[in-house]
């Protein structure tokens, strides 16, 4: 019961009017900066952290929590409305969300994202509060071979995002894997495919690539077809609010997304985006409306958004229990905590309960505040789509380049933005899906490194990959996911399946 008392005490502190005001300011600032394409939650938090320094510990924690949630939700907003994901975890949201927005269903898409994020945040924060020490024990069992198996599973399942052509989907994926090889090989320090260009030594920045492929490529593509009026975006068709049917189709994905995202976020090398990939694939498999996937299926927004938020709360598990910052955002949070003399580590829950529970309470309050602030704002956000195209796209490109320049003000990075923007345009022209190339760039290095680490530890023994039960089970699921559709097709059900694979981008 001790833990529960601490939580209540923390909530009481966080619910004071001044604290609520700080939460509101934090959420507003976070959302405002987070909506800019190319500025993900890590940079948002880094930029706004100094604002919190002027407050006392309780005040800064709550404002900080607000900034964190606001920054994440802001990224989803622009992904849905403008197809410009500012970070890898909202790429999947853009897939279905933007399709919905174009059909005049931007309101329900934003609402299901907001409510899904809230529910996922709520459940995941409670899991964090009460189960963190046990979850972390499980997470630590994951070594290189288990991670490799997880990556294999992610590869197999994201092929659900490949669209109607296996050839073009695989080409896009392998181009992403090729780009992923660029840069210093992390395990041996050797430079690969960098041709003596120092800027290439660190590889291709995922954010730059995502912004270029989605925002710039999209702008070029739309500009190219500007005389075709039938593609006109409708701002609102039907209700801005979610219908009964939307609710019925959203609640299960929210819950599934939460339970997929949270454990993956809690793994020290999981990464938020993998949860969104797996959630998307799950929803696509389970949906009763497969024909809508690729054309704006609400499940494809609800699930991944919930997974993203749950995994963000999951990242706090290793941070608070072990002092492990497992993402850039978490590393910045750690710096923020140290400001109030809080040293994350295994003893934190015991030595500093007031602050820890204060933080957890702050997260809960900020999460609720986000919903309060953003649900009424949806009508306003959707109006963004009524901005005349010349100004809208000029603005998108302005902010997309601002994000890139702000993160790294080099002409080289801008050159990459332009180059990949043109690539994104050409790929759209020929019907290549955009998501797999970015997925390849993200998953490629993770899979390669984990495989090589696993083999180094086993001194070159490949059977190590199936020697751990977890790895074997994950690889088994991946194999089933690959083989079952083949068998079904061989038995003459191919027709059905190819209809299931909706077309996309």
């Amino acid at each position: 019961m001790g833990a529960f008392d601490f939580l209540l005490q923390g909530l009481a502190t966080a619910a004071e009017p001044m604290m609520l005001l700080y939460a509101l300011i934090g959420v507003t600032l976070g959302t405002a900066v987070g909506v800019l394409p190319g500025i993900g939650p890590a940079l948002t938090v880094a930029l706004l952290l100094p604002v919190t320094y002027r407050l006392d510990a309780a005040g800064s924690l709550i404002m900080f929590a607000g900034i964190y949630y606001g920054g994440m939700y802001g990224g989803s907003t622009t992904s849905i409305l403008l197809n410009t994901p500012g970070e890898s975890a909202s790429i999947i949201t853009a897939l279905e969300g933007n399709k919905m927005a174009r059909k005049g269903r931007g309101g329900p898409a934003l609402a299901t994202a907001a409510i899904g994020s809230f529910i996922a945040g709520l459940i995941a924060t409670l899991l964090l509060a009460f189960l963190a020490p046990s979850i972390v024990k499980v997470a630590l069992v994951f070594g290189p071979r288990e991670y490799f198996a997880l990556m294999v599973l992610a590869f197999v399942t994201v092929s659900a995002a490949f669209g109607d052509s296996a050839l073009r989907g695989l080409t896009s994926l392998f181009l992403g894997l090729a780009l992923a090889c660029v840069g210093i090989d992390q395990l041996t320090g050797q430079a690969r495919l960098s041709f003596g260009v120092p800027e290439l030594l660190d590889g291709i920045e995922v954010t730059t690539m995502a912004v270029a492929m989605f925002a710039v490529g999209e702008a070029l593509f739309i500009a190219g077809q500007r005389n075709h009026q039938e593609d006109e975006v409708t701002a609102v068709k039907g209700s801005v609010w979610m219908s009964r049917r939307d609710w019925a189709r959203s609640w299960k994905p929210w819950l599934r997304g939460t339970f997929i995202g949270f454990p993956i976020g809690a793994m020290p090398a999981g990464g938020a985006e993998i949860g969104t990939f797996l959630s998307y694939a799950t929803e696509k498999k389970l949906t009763k409306h497969p024909e809508e996937f690729g054309n704006g299926a609400i499940e494809g927004v609800a699930g991944p958004e919930a997974a993203n938020n749950a995994s963000a709360a999951g990242t706090l598990v290793p941070l608070l229990t072990l002092g492990l910052p497992t993402s850039a955002t978490a590393a910045i949070m750690l710096a923020g905590f140290q400001q109030f003399g809080l040293q994350p580590g295994p003893l934190l829950f015991a030595t500093n309960p007031t602050l820890v529970w204060g933080l957890i309470a702050s997260l809960l309050i900020a999460n609720a505040m986000l919903l309060v602030l953003n649900l009424p704002m949806i009508g306003l956000w959707v109006k963004l789509l009524t901005v005349p195209k010349p100004w809208l796209y000029a603005g998108i490109l302005l902010f997309a380049t601002l994000g890139t320049i702000g993160a790294n003000p080099s002409s080289f990075e801008l050159g990459m933005l332009l180059g990949f923007g043109v690539l994104g345009y050409v790929m759209r022209l020929f019907g290549y899906p955009i998501a797999p190339i970015v997925v390849g760039l993200i998953l490629g290095p993770m899979a390669e490194q984990q495989l090589r680490r696993a083999l180094a530890i086993s001194q070159g023994d490949w059977t190590t990959l199936v020697h751990s039960p977890i790895a074997a089970v994950l690889l088994g699921i991946a194999a089933l996911a690959l083989i079952v559709p083949l068998i079904l097709r061989a038995r003459g059900k191919g027709q059905v399946l190819s209809q299931l694979a909706g077309d996309e981008d």
Partner: protein
């Protein structure tokens, strides 16, 4: 006419005196050690009124060498530009064949530093550093070491340890992770034999009893850390992962003296000391000729060990 106006605007901008406040380049992404050092400097410089409006700029990439190259080429003679760097840069310059080295900037002072710690999981059968060295000698491949990126401080330390123990440094089984956090998870999860990183990364775990500290790379025992130095264990290895601040190339002696004085004022302030204590960094301030000599020594020894490991030809 329009051209003239434009041209005079440009000329005006160039002729204008440079802004009076420091711009600090953090040659890394937000969140890392160099970024935090730069941002802490920013806070202290501003609050102490040494430089009321200080800016931090992140120029990430390739162990800091991209930021270093950009800094050296764009700021010649600019006394308001500073860059944060550290020991990792020494190795990165060598492994990346960087055209720009620390000789191309004006190192001002070493600010903070941490020593390396060698740990094993609490469940490990290895009880002390002698046991670990014995295992290493018996079969270097069976001893896997988790640490930071290839060619970084941790990797160099393992190479030095192997060499001092008489084991071929090319035979070490070093598993590089992207950062201390990921490596720590692998050690705690019993995935590897031993782990190596800055003591600060492991401190909380050691206190909680989930990791066993075997040795530290300091010249003498560290207060509060219950372990011998590598030297005591008969291995002639001493390594400090330091962070420094450097100024632009081509400064006059007066300019250099002013920057040095400003940095000293910052380091001596109570505010700085408090920030260090909050972050658990130790003050290893060193400037002037002493720092230059130390730097020279580090560059020579690092080059030698990177060649031994086989990362630099």
């Amino acid at each position: 006419m329009k051209h003239f106006v434009l041209a005079s605007m440009f000329a005006g901008a160039i002729a204008m005196p440079a802004m009076a406040d420091y711009t600090i380049i953090a040659p890394a992404n937000p969140g890392g050690g160099w970024d935090q050092t730069a941002r802490t400097m920013q806070t202290v410089l501003q609050e102490e009124g040494i430089s009321p409006s200080t800016q931090v700029q992140n120029v990430p990439g390739a162990g800091g060498t991209i930021g270093l190259a950009q800094f050296a080429s764009q700021n010649k003679g600019n006394a308001d530009a500073l860059i944060v760097g550290g020991y990792v840069m020494v190795g990165a310059i060598l492994t990346n064949n960087s055209p720009v080295s620390l000789k191309d900037v004006t190192p001002i002072a070493r600010l903070t530093g941490e020593y390396e710690a060698i740990v094993v999981p609490a469940a490990s059968p290895l009880k002390d550093i002698a046991g670990l060295i014995e295992a290493l000698k018996a079969d270097p491949g069976a001893v896997s070491w988790a640490g930071g990126s290839a060619g970084g401080t941790d990797h160099i330390a393992v190479g030095l340890i192997a060499k001092a123990a008489g084991v071929d440094p090319t035979k070490i089984n070093y598993i590089a992770y992207s950062g201390g956090g990921e490596a720590l998870a692998a050690i705690l999860g019993n995935q590897v034999t031993a782990g190596i990183s800055s003591l600060g990364e492991f401190d909380a775990q050691i206190k909680a009893g989930t990791l066993r500290l075997l040795a530290v790379s300091a010249p003498e025992r560290i207060e509060g850390a219950d372990a011998p130095t590598l030297k005591e264990a008969g291995l002639d290895v001493e390594l400090q992962n330091w962070r420094m601040v450097a100024a632009a190339p081509g400064l006059s002696d007066e300019q250099k003296a002013k920057v040095t004085a400003d940095v000293e004022k910052m380091v001596k302030s109570e505010n700085w000391q408090k920030q260090l204590a909050d972050k658990g960094w130790s003050d290893t301030y060193l400037s002037g000729a002493d720092f230059d000599a130390q730097l020279e020594k580090d560059v020579t020894s690092t080059e030698a060990i990177l060649k031994d490991i086989g990362l630099v030809k």
